[in-house]
């Protein structure tokens, strides 16, 4: 019974002009956005491969342990075609003895190594709230508008056309009619959706630089299901509202109003409202606390006695970072080693302390972000966007996960480095290259070299370039990948359930309402 109505609805829809227009518009939009984002993804993959290579080479050139910095590059998600996610999420996380990665890379005085892909500004993904145009956006705006145009007159149209009574004089009940029409509209909408997905898959398959494994296809399947769920929910809402107006024209007005509210006003307005609710002074607090910690740290350092012995050549020190000494005497190396044995643990401690300050700021912002998310979640579009982001792994949670894994990796790295922090190789290589030591005889020799060949000759001797890199093969390397499929699905689940519940709610309300829908 319901199926016959569904079939009829489908046929009527397919023969309608609005379907044709909607199909063309959505196919065009999804094709264009899909094309742009597939290209964008391919470019980011290239960049990622180059970055990984560059960072690996840089690490392989490390000359002393204290300057080790592992840059964990985050592979771009192939599903980012569907959801670019929060804009400006860093593409890499840096891990070093003096830097504990946090969700927010702010106040990281020691993070002097420019992370590729990040801007020069400190990255704070928690403050971004408007996402970019991606397939998820097209689906949640264009296809939901399509849904509105499809069902705004599903009852009023039949009433005005005069077929409603004949329909209901059959053995079909009103709720059968509702269900049939609902499913018919859903099947109709599934066509542009499927066409859009096929377009993207073809673009992927045709792209010479891209290839995908089964898990990606499974992800695409999930996004497809999520899109169907979203459209089901939106249709249910539209259906429900359409039962409140007698004339098709006023139905259309109501529904367009609802569409603007759900697709535009709530997502944007919620963000603005949340901006007012943002805890004030958090950032200032964090910065001043971080400042205070630094000052205290510097004071504590000052209390440690240190007297330099002999000249320093080609030395770089910074209390917040690793240090490297090349042109010093053995005596000074031992002197420095003794100093370091007191100071390095303090530096490690300071890194942890500063991390805690930044992290507590991050957590506070995160919980404000959750409030904001909850504020705008009632909009089906937002819930849908959340699902797609979670499945695609482009949400803040996924990035948070990467950072957490990077921290775990740092623990392993520190287990390897801690024993080495008490050795000369932590900061110098003078023992391997006695000719760089500014001993009296060496200095005399350098003087003569300068006279004969100029400054460059000495610079060559005192250059780190001569120094062979450390053998880091025993150091653990990071295994920080994207979250597993199960985790991502788990991340998407709350919003999916919410969407499902909304869909059911609107359907139940529609069924209650249709019983009293006036036929005259």
């Amino acid at each position: 019974m319901i199926w016959h109505i569904t079939r009829k609805e489908l046929l009527v829809n397919l023969q309608s002009l609005r379907f044709l227009i909607g199909l063309v518009v959505s196919a065009l939009m999804m094709g264009i956005v899909g094309y742009v984002l597939v290209e964008d993804y391919a470019a980011r993959v290239q960049k990622y491969i180059a970055d990984v290579q560059e960072h690996r080479e840089a690490l392989a050139q490390t000359k002393v342990y204290s300057t080790i910095a592992v840059v964990v590059d985050i592979p771009p998600s192939p599903l980012s075609v569907f959801s670019r996610g929060s804009q400006d999420l860093p593409t890499a996380v840096q891990v070093s003895p003096y830097h504990v990665p946090s969700l927010i890379d702010e106040a990281g005085g020691s993070a002097s190594i420019g992370l590729s892909g990040t801007s020069s500004q400190p990255s704070n993904p928690l403050l971004r709230m408007f996402t970019s145009i991606d397939l998820g956006f097209v689906i949640s705006t264009i296809l939901s508008l399509f849904a509105v145009l499809l069902v705004f007159d599903s009852f009023s149209g039949e009433r005005e056309q005069g077929t409603l009574k004949l329909l209901l004089s059959s053995s079909a009940g009103r709720s059968h009619l509702l269900a049939g029409k609902y499913l018919g509209a859903l099947l109709t909408l599934a066509i542009p959706l499927t066409v859009g997905f096929l377009e993207v898959m073809i673009l992927w398959a045709l792209h010479p630089a891209l290839s995908f494994d089964a898990s990606v296809w499974a992800g695409v399947g999930l996004v497809y299901l999520a899109s169907l769920l979203f459209l089901s929910g939106f249709l249910a809402l539209a259906m429900f509202l359409s039962l409140y107006a007698k004339e098709s024209s006023s139905c259309l007005m109501y529904l367009l109003l609802a569409w603007v509210t759900v697709a535009v006003v709530i997502p944007a307005g919620g963000g603005f409202v949340a901006e007012y609710l943002r805890p004030l002074g958090l950032r200032e607090n964090m910065l001043s606390e971080s400042e205070r910690a630094s000052t205290e740290f510097m004071k504590a350092l000052g209390r440690i006695d240190y007297r330099q012995i002999g000249p320093w050549n080609n030395v770089s020190t910074n209390p917040f970072e690793g240090e490297s000494f090349l042109g010093i005497t053995q005596e000074e190396a031992y002197n420095r080693l003794a100093y370091n044995q007191k100071v390095v643990p303090m530096k490690f401690q300071f890194a942890e302390d500063r991390f805690r300050v930044v992290e507590s700021y991050a957590r506070a912002l995160r919980s404000w972000g959750r409030t904001r998310d909850n504020l705008i979640r009632p909009s089906l579009c937002v819930a849908y966007d959340n699902i797609v982001k979670a499945v695609a792994g482009t949400d803040v949670d996924s990035f948070d996960d990467v950072v957490r894994k990077a921290r775990l990796y740092r623990d392993m790295m520190m287990a390897y480095l801690r024993p080495r922090s008490g050795t000369p190789a932590w900061f110098t290589r003078v023992f391997d290259y006695p000719d760089v030591q500014p001993t009296e005889s060496n200095q005399k020799y350098w003087q003569s070299l300068i006279e004969k060949q100029g400054e460059q000759a000495v610079e060559k001797i005192l250059s780190w370039d001569r120094v062979s890199p450390l053998d880091l093969s025993a150091m653990p390397s990071p295994a920080v990948g994207m979250r597993g499929a199960a985790e991502r699905v788990e991340g998407a689940l709350p919003d999916a359930l919410f969407l499902f519940a909304l869909c059911l709610l609107f359907l139940v309300l529609s069924i209650l309402r249709v019983r009293h829908y006036p036929l005259n």
């Binding site: 005069g162 004949l166 053995s171």
Partner: protein, 236 residues
């Protein structure tokens, strides 16, 4: 088969459109409900299909309460409206197929649809034509074809012949008589006194929601229905 017990409808705006209607139509009977515009004829028929809910009283189809068990009750009756409207982009047969399936009849072949369309007098060329090109008469015929295919024991027709040309009207009457012959209980509202007299077994005259007269064919043999009708319309 078609029964109303103290059936009353007061619309939301307070208008009493139907006031304690009592009728009982047996199988093989044609009951004509006569009345001017606004008398409450459509209201009566709407109540049987649960298009609207009665204020009080009961409408029964084959003993089933049309308000409490509408889905069950509706199975026993087919509906033909004053102006049958169908899906314009579907052909006659597609419309027939859709509504017949909705009434729970399955596995009907093309031939069976054609047969019924012939029976109601639709021209052969129209069978596979889109309904949006149909005249009102053709649509009324298709409407009755839908009703026939439902194979229900009761038939409720709301001014089915209004606006039909005389020939089409006469064909329509033929058809109704044949259906009566098959033992169907038929309720037809009309304001056409002549046609009512021609076919009705029982005639009821309705005025402002009240059934003011009900006479059988026998009662009317020696009376002039038209005069009666006008007389009843005058007094109030």
């Amino acid at each position: 088969m078609i029964q109303a017990i103290d059936l009353t409808k007061r619309y939301e705006d307070g208008l009493l459109a139907l006031d304690h209607l009592n009728i009982n139509i047996l199988p093989g009977q044609i009951y004509c409900l006569l009345g001017a515009n606004g008398a409450g004829k459509t209201t009566t028929i709407n109540l049987f299909f649960n298009f609207i809910e009665p204020t009080s009283g009961t409408a029964l189809l084959n003993g089933k309460d049309c308000t409490k068990e509408p889905l069950l009750a509706k199975q026993f009756a087919a509906y033909v409206s004053e102006n049958v409207m169908l899906y314009g982009n579907f052909t006659a047969r597609q419309n027939l197929d859709f509504f017949t399936k909705l009434s729970g009849r399955k596995n009907l072949g093309k031939e069976e649809y054609y047969m019924v369309m012939r029976q109601v007098g639709l021209p052969e060329r129209a069978f596979e034509q889109r309904v949006k090109t149909f005249s009102k008469g053709m649509r009324q015929k298709l409407g009755i074809a839908i009703a026939i295919l439902k194979q229900s024991p009761a038939l409720l027709l709301d001014e089915p012949t209004s606006g039909l040309d005389p020939k089409a009207g006469a064909e329509f009457v033929e058809l109704l008589l044949r259906l009566r012959g098959e033992g169907k209980a038929i309720l037809m509202s009309t304001h056409d006194v002549f046609r009512a007299k021609e076919i009705a077994d029982v005639i009821g005259i309705m005025k402002e929601g009240v059934l003011i007269m009900e006479k059988t064919k026998e009662d009317l043999k020696y009376e002039d229905l038209e005069k009666l009708y006008l007389k009843y319309m005058e007094v109030s």
